[in-house]
Amino acid sequence: MEPAPVDTVAVAPRTRAQIAWLRAYAGDATAELPAHIGPLQPDQRPGADALAAWRRWHPPALDSHFSDAEWPWYAILERARVETLASRELPGMALNLADLDAIAPAGRRAARLHRLARHTLASPPVTAEGVRREDERETQGQEAADRQEPDRADGIPGHDFGRSWPGPGDPPEPFATDNTVHRVRVPLITRLLASMRRRPAGLGGAPGPTDAKIVAALRLAQLRLTDAAAFAEAVRPLVRALALSADQETAGDHPVSGPSPQPLLGLDAESDDASQVQEMETGNDPAQTGADEMSPADRRYPGYAIFSTRWDQTLAAAQLYQPGDALHLHDLEEGERRQARRLALRLQRRLLAARLRLWSFDQDEGRLDSRRLARLLTPKPPYAVFRLEDETPVPEACVTLLVDQSGSMRGRPQRLTAQAIDLTVRTLEFCRVKCEVLGYTTRYGADNPLVRAWQTAGCPSAPGRLNALRHIIYKGADQAWRQCRPHLGLLLRQDFGRENLDGEALDWAARRLLRRPEPCKVLIVLSDGAPYDEATAAANGRRFLEDHLRSVIAALEGSPIRLAAIGAGQTVGRYYGQALTLHRPEAVATVLFDHLGDLLTRTETAIRPFS
């Protein structure tokens, strides 16, 4: 889950002074918190401080370490970290940030997690051994509690079971220095732990890690509070567990190992709504459908509309993967590793050759600089007539491969694409170029809830997109291919994909890529033709999706992203400025890698056929 672009987040009006303060304190902010993850009242002083703390202490590059499903959970924990740091460093800010109600994220579960994390991270640190022992005690206590009748648990000393968790009505923690915070909070944590023993389920009784587990994990992460990367690593298992549990919670419409939509963080676990990540980004009311329900992408493309984002999905491939998918991978087996190595060497040579030469002049040793030889005729030193040649490192790059998984890609295009991806990712890994693999299709065929909703609404004209997105993350930029490659079998599954909404997928992939810290960003789309969704085309005309795709491409071609497209069997050149077509498997290596080399080594102006 990536944060929504700045221009699309509903930012409440701020005072001029607040904006100036934010700018002065936070510097040139590179990342904005989405409204639903950020403070409830960003226009108030506590909310402004929370946002400022986020900008000051949160490195945006870490966002990409988490999948879209994981990121919101990580963001809440990260908010707790940066707010804790801010409270420690700036007493005045600590006072404002103590108002947890004002800065809580939207939704009860998110607010509870935020509150728990803030309390835990602000408490006195304990050693890892201490955490382990506490965890064991908690587990034993939990087992004991499980054996007891619920009312017997109330007898455990030191617990105020009357208010196990601070609720919305709790008074804010008083301002305190580090020490006072510790003094005040210790009993609270104890109370919390006790309440956790009484409540085996996770946040708000939802499935997933128990609250005690959450606290234990946060205690370990607390030891790395000032190191954002280490903190992110420390909370990763917890984040994953939270994301997974959220997914399981709403897996009702996919019985076995089918996709499980992400719940909206801001909603209660009891909600029967299968709200999706996209909704979370946009902050839409999931119950609302209609042309006015616009995603961030829509607002930038005025001709485009979405009837509802309620059923949209963004999932990790692992969530959709089935053991049977492994069989499909047999065609792409090990024989290609050697080829990948050969291609990697060739690509490496190209990358090396592309390095810009950097000369240091006036050196005492090195290569003779003929333009400075005249100095030798002067009576006084220095006679620094040498020059040294350095190699400017090639800018770090991140390549995103975005794959069309619609039904028309079945068969040969599918195999071509999988082969191309496998080779490309391996090669890029050899070259130490970051690479992300994403897929896209839609969720529904004939039985389409959006169409039903549209019909129920009286079939208003120009309803916009009438299918639900299914965006799939095969490999994050920082994940190793050896871990993710098995999921490529999903790409080869015969009955998986339905339609292709290229414009929105491209926009999604681009926004992910823009968050990456690497200066060179390459986005390669693998598709087999025009965007198409039968329901959308029938209601809006064939040109609706094509026009949107052209608009997205036009926007991207003006961005730092180097965009290219590969047509699997069919040319996509009428949409993309940089396009090539793969027709035969043997052409994958030669054609694709020549093009990839161009994209990674050429300057921006040189890529374009026209300057």
């Binding site: 028309s408 039968e534 094509e546 027709h583 026209f610």
Partner: protein, 644 residues
């Protein structure tokens, strides 16, 4: 050779450079050596160049003549450069430094649109005069180079292939049902429709004029069915013919790389190869000849009167010339399905004979790898140099020249070809029979199987929906293929029904230029004007060519009793892919292509896949024509309509 395109806006909006960029990208494969654009305030033009001739290195298109404010885009090759230069007052030294496009520009400046009738060669041309907002487009009389256009309220666009036009937002990619119907019914390609809705072609021998926002067309060239050449003697005919053929070959040898030829065991390709080899030998240059043959050891059945392996015959031709480097091309295991999508993508249309595309692609690839820039063919030979002259019989019959008719018919019966009397009489009489009687005769002869649905995959409901009968009448085409009484009109009808420009451009994508000396305009006009008695004499068909090549071609070619059967082993690789074929048909069915094609019948053909009898006419028609062509058309529709 170049691919060209242009976009002219009628309103004041500027040209979106991104669109031109896309168009260049799409046409770049056809002109890989250079790509250039020119932007005017409300118009833009592009060309992508494949350098074939030495003069192509001088090509600097789009050409702009500042004085007259004229822009010229020329895609093609001029075969009468010297003649044009003389008429235009261009000195030979100056001409040597001119690309063909520049000569064409001078012609445009001097004669305006009337210049096209003076240009000889394969070409498509665009000339833009911004001051008067006037554009004209033209193609050569045979349509060897294609040109398509699209017009909307606010712009006009043209391009060598439709794919470039689809890069323009607002130009939708959809099937033209009328053209699809005519194509499936093998009706002549008349009228401006292309395979795509709202995309039109400039017809061969036509000028399209855009003045302001109005579009008009006019035909600048028609083949003359009444012109007859009268020369004093047979030898004079032969000499004139020799001159024409030699010249048409010579002007197609201008290239900056190796010359290759497609050499089958037929008359036309053998003649072209032999004459080209002789001319190249005089310049101490080689000729690379390619012959497609079946897989090693193939001994499958072939239709009566055909031979499956053209290798031996071709070898005898190659053996006569020391400068011929002869290669046999085998496409063992390659199914017509393997490159079908790629071919369709490259052609922007369904290929007429997917079987032939297999070896055709293989020859092109081999020639390109060998470094050839030109591939000579003899595709139009049947209508020109190797015309049989058999229509001479009905003509004599119709004119009441009984004695002459008897003499020729008897000679045909007793001569080398050993034709049956029944066939000779039917050929002579049939053109004069009332259509109903002819239909009855056909019925009695048991040729009902030649009904359209026996050879075409077209869905009967689609035929009805399109008003099949009316369209056939409007095309003035006889689907019963009744013999013609006039050989000249028959050949003109065939010439007029063809438009093979897309195939020529597709060869450019392989880095080659296809050149057909038998499709030379002057040669065609000559051959049409030659009296029939020069083609059929004393029972000898192709008498003129026989005399011309008598000393040059070996007896296996000159006296061949059978014709080559191309891709004789086609069904082996095709049959090995039955699951893929079924998958493709299922896919087409799921996409609703059965509204055009009778897909259940095609699927049934797969179920009835024969294990033998591939030489039987019924089997050939059912599988090689109906199924293969149907699959190609279905795949094309699937590509165009998109969807999942």
């Amino acid at each position: 050779m170049t691919a060209i395109a242009g976009l002219i806006r009628f309103d004041d909006a500027p040209i979106n450079r991104t669109i031109l960029e896309r168009m260049v990208n799409l046409l770049q494969p056809y002109g890989r050596d250079a790509q250039h654009t020119r932007f005017e305030p409300h118009a833009a033009f592009l060309h992508t160049l494949l350098r074939i001739t030495p003069e192509d290195s001088l090509d600097r298109q789009p050409l702009w003549h500042a004085e007259s404010r004229t822009l010229c885009l020329f895609d093609g090759r001029l075969d009468n450069r010297e003649e044009l230069a003389q008429a235009l007052g261009i000195a030979p030294a100056e001409l040597r430094l001119m690309a063909d496009s520049e000569v064409a520009l001078h012609a445009c400046l001097r004669w305006d649109a009337e210049c096209v009738d003076r240009l000889l060669g394969d070409f498509a041309l665009a000339c833009w005069q911004p001051q008067v907002r006037r554009l004209w487009l033209a193609r050569d009389p045979l349509g060897t180079r294609p040109l398509y256009w699209h017009r909307k309220a606010d712009f006009f666009a043209f391009a060598t292939l439709p794919k470039a036009l689809f890069a323009i937002p607002g130009v939708d990619k959809a099937i033209c049902e009328e053209r699809l119907h005519d194509y499936l019914c093998l009706l002549p390609w008349i009228g401006p429709e292309s395979f795509f809705k709202d995309i039109y072609r400039v017809e061969p021998g036509q000028i399209l004029l855009l003045e302001g926002e109005g579009v008009s067309t006019q035909r600048y060239h028609r083949w003359d069915p009444d012109k007859e050449l009268q020369l004093p003697s047979d030898d004079d005919y032969l000499e004139a013919f020799r001159e024409q053929v030699e010249r048409s070959v010579a002007c197609r040898l201008r290239a900056s790389g190796l010359i290759a030829s497609h050499l089958s065991s037929g008359f036309d390709s053998s003649t072209v190869t032999a004459l080209a080899a002789r001319q190249l030998a005089a310049a101490n240059k080689p000729l690379i000849a390619y012959t497609a043959v079946p897989r090693e050891g193939f001994d499958g059945p072939v239709p009566k009167g055909r031979h499956g392996d053209e290798g031996p015959g071709a070898r005898t031709v190659a053996a006569r010339f020391t400068n011929i480097e002869h290669h046999l091309i085998r496409t063992t295991g390659v199914s017509p399905l393997d490159r079908l999508e790629e071919d369709i993508e490259c052609l922007d249309r369904p290929p007429l004979n997917p079987c032939n595309m297999v070896w055709d692609d293989a020859i092109r690839d081999a020639a390109a790898r060998r470094g050839a820039r030109v591939l000579l063919t003899g595709g139009m030979g049947n209508m020109t140099i190797s015309y049989t002259g058999l229509e001479y019989l009905p003509r004599l019959f119709g004119q009441g020249q009984w004695a002459a008719w008897w003499r020729e018919a008897n000679a045909l019966h007793s001569g080398v070809s050993r034709r049956h009397w029944r066939g000779l009489v039917l050929q002579s009489v049939a053109p004069y029979l009332p259509p109903a009687l002819w239909a009855l005769l056909q019925h009695l002869r048991g040729v009902r199987t030649r009904a359209l649905t026996g050879t075409s995959a077209i869905h009967p409901q689609f035929m009805r929906r399109m008003g099949h009968e009316e369209r056939v009448k409007a095309a003035q085409w006889d689907l019963s293929y009744r013999p013609w009484a006039d050989g000249r009109r028959m050949r003109i009808a065939v010439l007029d029904r063809l438009d093979n420009g897309d195939y020529q451009v597709a060869a450019n994508a392989a880095g080659l230029e296809l050149r057909d000396p038998t499709a030379d305009r002057r040669l065609i006009e000559f051959c049409l004007a030659v009296p029939d008695h020069q083609y059929l004499r004393a029972g000898q068909t192709r008498w003129l060519l026989q005399r011309l090549m008598g000393d040059l071609l070996p007896p296996p070619i000159l006296q061949a009793r059978t014709k080559g059967y191309q891709a004789a082993d086609w069904y082996e690789a095709f049959g090995a892919n039955l699951p893929r074929l079924r998958e493709e048909l299922d896919h087409q069915q799921a996409k609703g292509i059965d509204r055009f094609l009778d897909l259940p019948i095609l699927a049934q053909s797969l179920g009835d896949w024969p294990v033998s009898g591939w030489e039987q006419p019924l089997t050939m028609r059912r599988y090689r024509l109906k199924l293969m062509r149907g699959l190609a058309v279905g795949t094309f529709i699937r590509q165009v309509e998109g969807g999942n």
